[in-house]
């Protein structure tokens, strides 16, 4: 009847792209938190450094890393596009809004939480990723000691505080994002949606608790 609209330019197309990239980024978190959790073995960073070394040098992981960045950039671009459209959809705002009556604050704050996360991510990459990259490209990957780097970075209380804020943002971002992605992909079912929501909740809590405990444990020298 009418010409087919281009999938990615449609509202639902963009949303689905958000959801897919979001889930992809969430899957990265599983890897990231697993590798980092090696520090809890508390063996002076031996296991952790080995895992980090593997992640930094394995060619397959390198390839996925590129995908990861692509996903992140797409996630941001689509977020910006959608946000702009959404702003345009309500040129005059309300005088009084009682949002808490009908939705969670964090579901309404994905943009802010995402922006916080992005700022945190820049700092985080500057702390760890760039150094590692330099080491890999200069062939010094073998000598690069990420564990020591962590200990150094997390000796500053304000950096620890910054990380906690970043991880907090992450918690609420994926608390909404996890189940939201399933809804966007059309996976909503009376039986399974409550399970998905529960998984999302526990996933967010566990992953973020683990992440948060790392700088804290190092700062308080529980891990040496």
């Amino acid at each position: 009847m009418s010409e087919k609209s281009f999938f990615l330019s449609s509202s639902i197309g963009k949303k689905i792209s958000m959801g897919l990239t979001g889930l992809f980024l969430i899957s990265f978190l599983i890897v990231h938190v697993s590798v980092n959790s090696c520090i809890f073995i508390n063996d002076g960073g031996i296991t952790f450094n080995a895992a980090a070394h593997f992640m930094a040098t394995n060619p397959l992981i390198r390839l996925i890393e590129i995908g990861l960045f692509a996903g992140l950039i797409l996630h941001i671009i689509f977020a910006l596009l959608l946000t702009l459209e959404n702003k345009k959809a309500r040129p005059i705002g309300y005088e009084k809004i009682n949002g808490s009556a009908n939705s969670n604050w964090y579901s309404r704050s994905m943009g802010i939480l995402g922006s916080l996360l992005l700022i945190f991510l820049v700092v985080h990459l500057a702390h760890f990723w760039i150094d590692t990259k330099i080491a890999v490209f200069t062939g010094k990957a073998d000598k690069h000691n990420t564990f020591n780097e962590m200990k150094e970075v997390f000796s500053n209380w304000y950096i620890v505080a910054l990380y906690l804020i970043g991880v907090g943002s992450l918690l609420f971002h994926i608390l909404h994002g996890f189940q939201s992605a399933f809804q966007t992909l059309g996976l909503n079912h009376k039986k399974y949606t409550p399970i998905i929501k529960k998984i999302g909740l526990w996933f967010s809590i566990i992953v973020c608790l683990l992440f948060a405990s790392m700088p804290v444990a190092i700062f308080t020298e529980l891990i040496k």
Binding site: S10, K15, N86, A101, S103, N104, S107, G186, N188
Partner: protein, 251 residues
């Protein structure tokens, strides 16, 4: 019981027409009975305004029994006010307290321009319906009704989606002015029924296209629409529409 003893202050959006700028004005609502509906309270205020030589507040309303979908006020930060599952016309003043200040605004959306005061233009919804919210069957072509057997559960789900009254509260409630709940309710109703399955692919593509062109925002799954919908239309419908859209786009 006709004269009540509630006194309220209303802060209401006044706007002469589409082109002029609007602003808030304050009105007193005196002698309000808790048995009045919110619109009857407005009647009292308007009656008072008329008798004192002023212009009444314009608002949309018709059936006053919660089914036509014409009434549309954003009351104290929520479409159709503080009670769940009711429209403004069925909201009663017993839901407020004596001395309250109530802020009343029109639906806010680029796709719902204000016509006057609290009345907005929702013809965008009609245009979305015209783009595909139907089964293409001309009068006279139908076969015997019981030749189409439909499982009760599907019929019930379709009915629940079809209960939408097209009031636009979902758009008003959504922080993004998204019309996904409205559109998905119709897409779902027809996708669930064998009669509607035949055209479901074109339907979802066309309706979403029209929805986008009307300037509605995007869904971020906050769930505000479902919470504020006077007919409790479920978010499952939005998921179903996403699914249908994905399927239609991929094939």
């Amino acid at each position: 019981m006709s004269q009540g003893n509630m006194n309220l202050t209303l802060k209401v959006w006044k706007q002469k027409n589409k082109n002029e700028k609007g602003r808030f004005e304050t009105f007193d609502a005196k002698g309000i009975s808790p048995d009045m509906s919110f619109l009857e309270m407005f009647d009292v205020v308007n009656e008072h305004l008329i008798s004192s030589g002023k212009e009444p507040i314009a608002f949309d309303h018709d059936c006053r029994e919660g089914i036509c979908g014409m009434c549309s006020m954003y009351i104290n930060g929520r479409p159709h006010g503080p009670k769940q599952g009711v429209t403004t016309c069925q909201l009663h003043m017993r839901s407020f307290k004596d001395g309250d200040t109530i802020v009343v605004e029109p639906w806010r959306s680029a796709a719902f321009p204000v016509i006057k005061d609290l009345a907005v233009d929702r013809s965008s919804f009609d245009r979305i319906m015209a783009s595909g919210g139907f089964v293409s069957i001309n009068t006279g072509n139908a076969k015997d009704a019981n030749n189409i057997l439909i499982p009760k559960y599907d019929a019930d789900d379709a009915f629940n989606a079809a209960a939408c009254i097209g009031c636009g509260a979902c758009v008003a409630a959504c922080k993004n002015s998204s019309a996904m709940l409205f559109v998905s309710a119709k897409v779902s109703q027809l996708a669930l029924l064998p009669q509607g399955k035949i055209e479901k692919r074109d339907r979802v593509l066309n309706m979403v296209k029209q929805m986008d062109e009307e300037g509605f925002g995007n869904c971020t799954n906050t769930g505000a629409c479902e919470a504020e919908c006077p007919k409790s239309i479920s978010l499952e419908n939005i998921a179903r529409m996403n699914r249908e859209y994905l399927k239609a786009s991929l094939t």
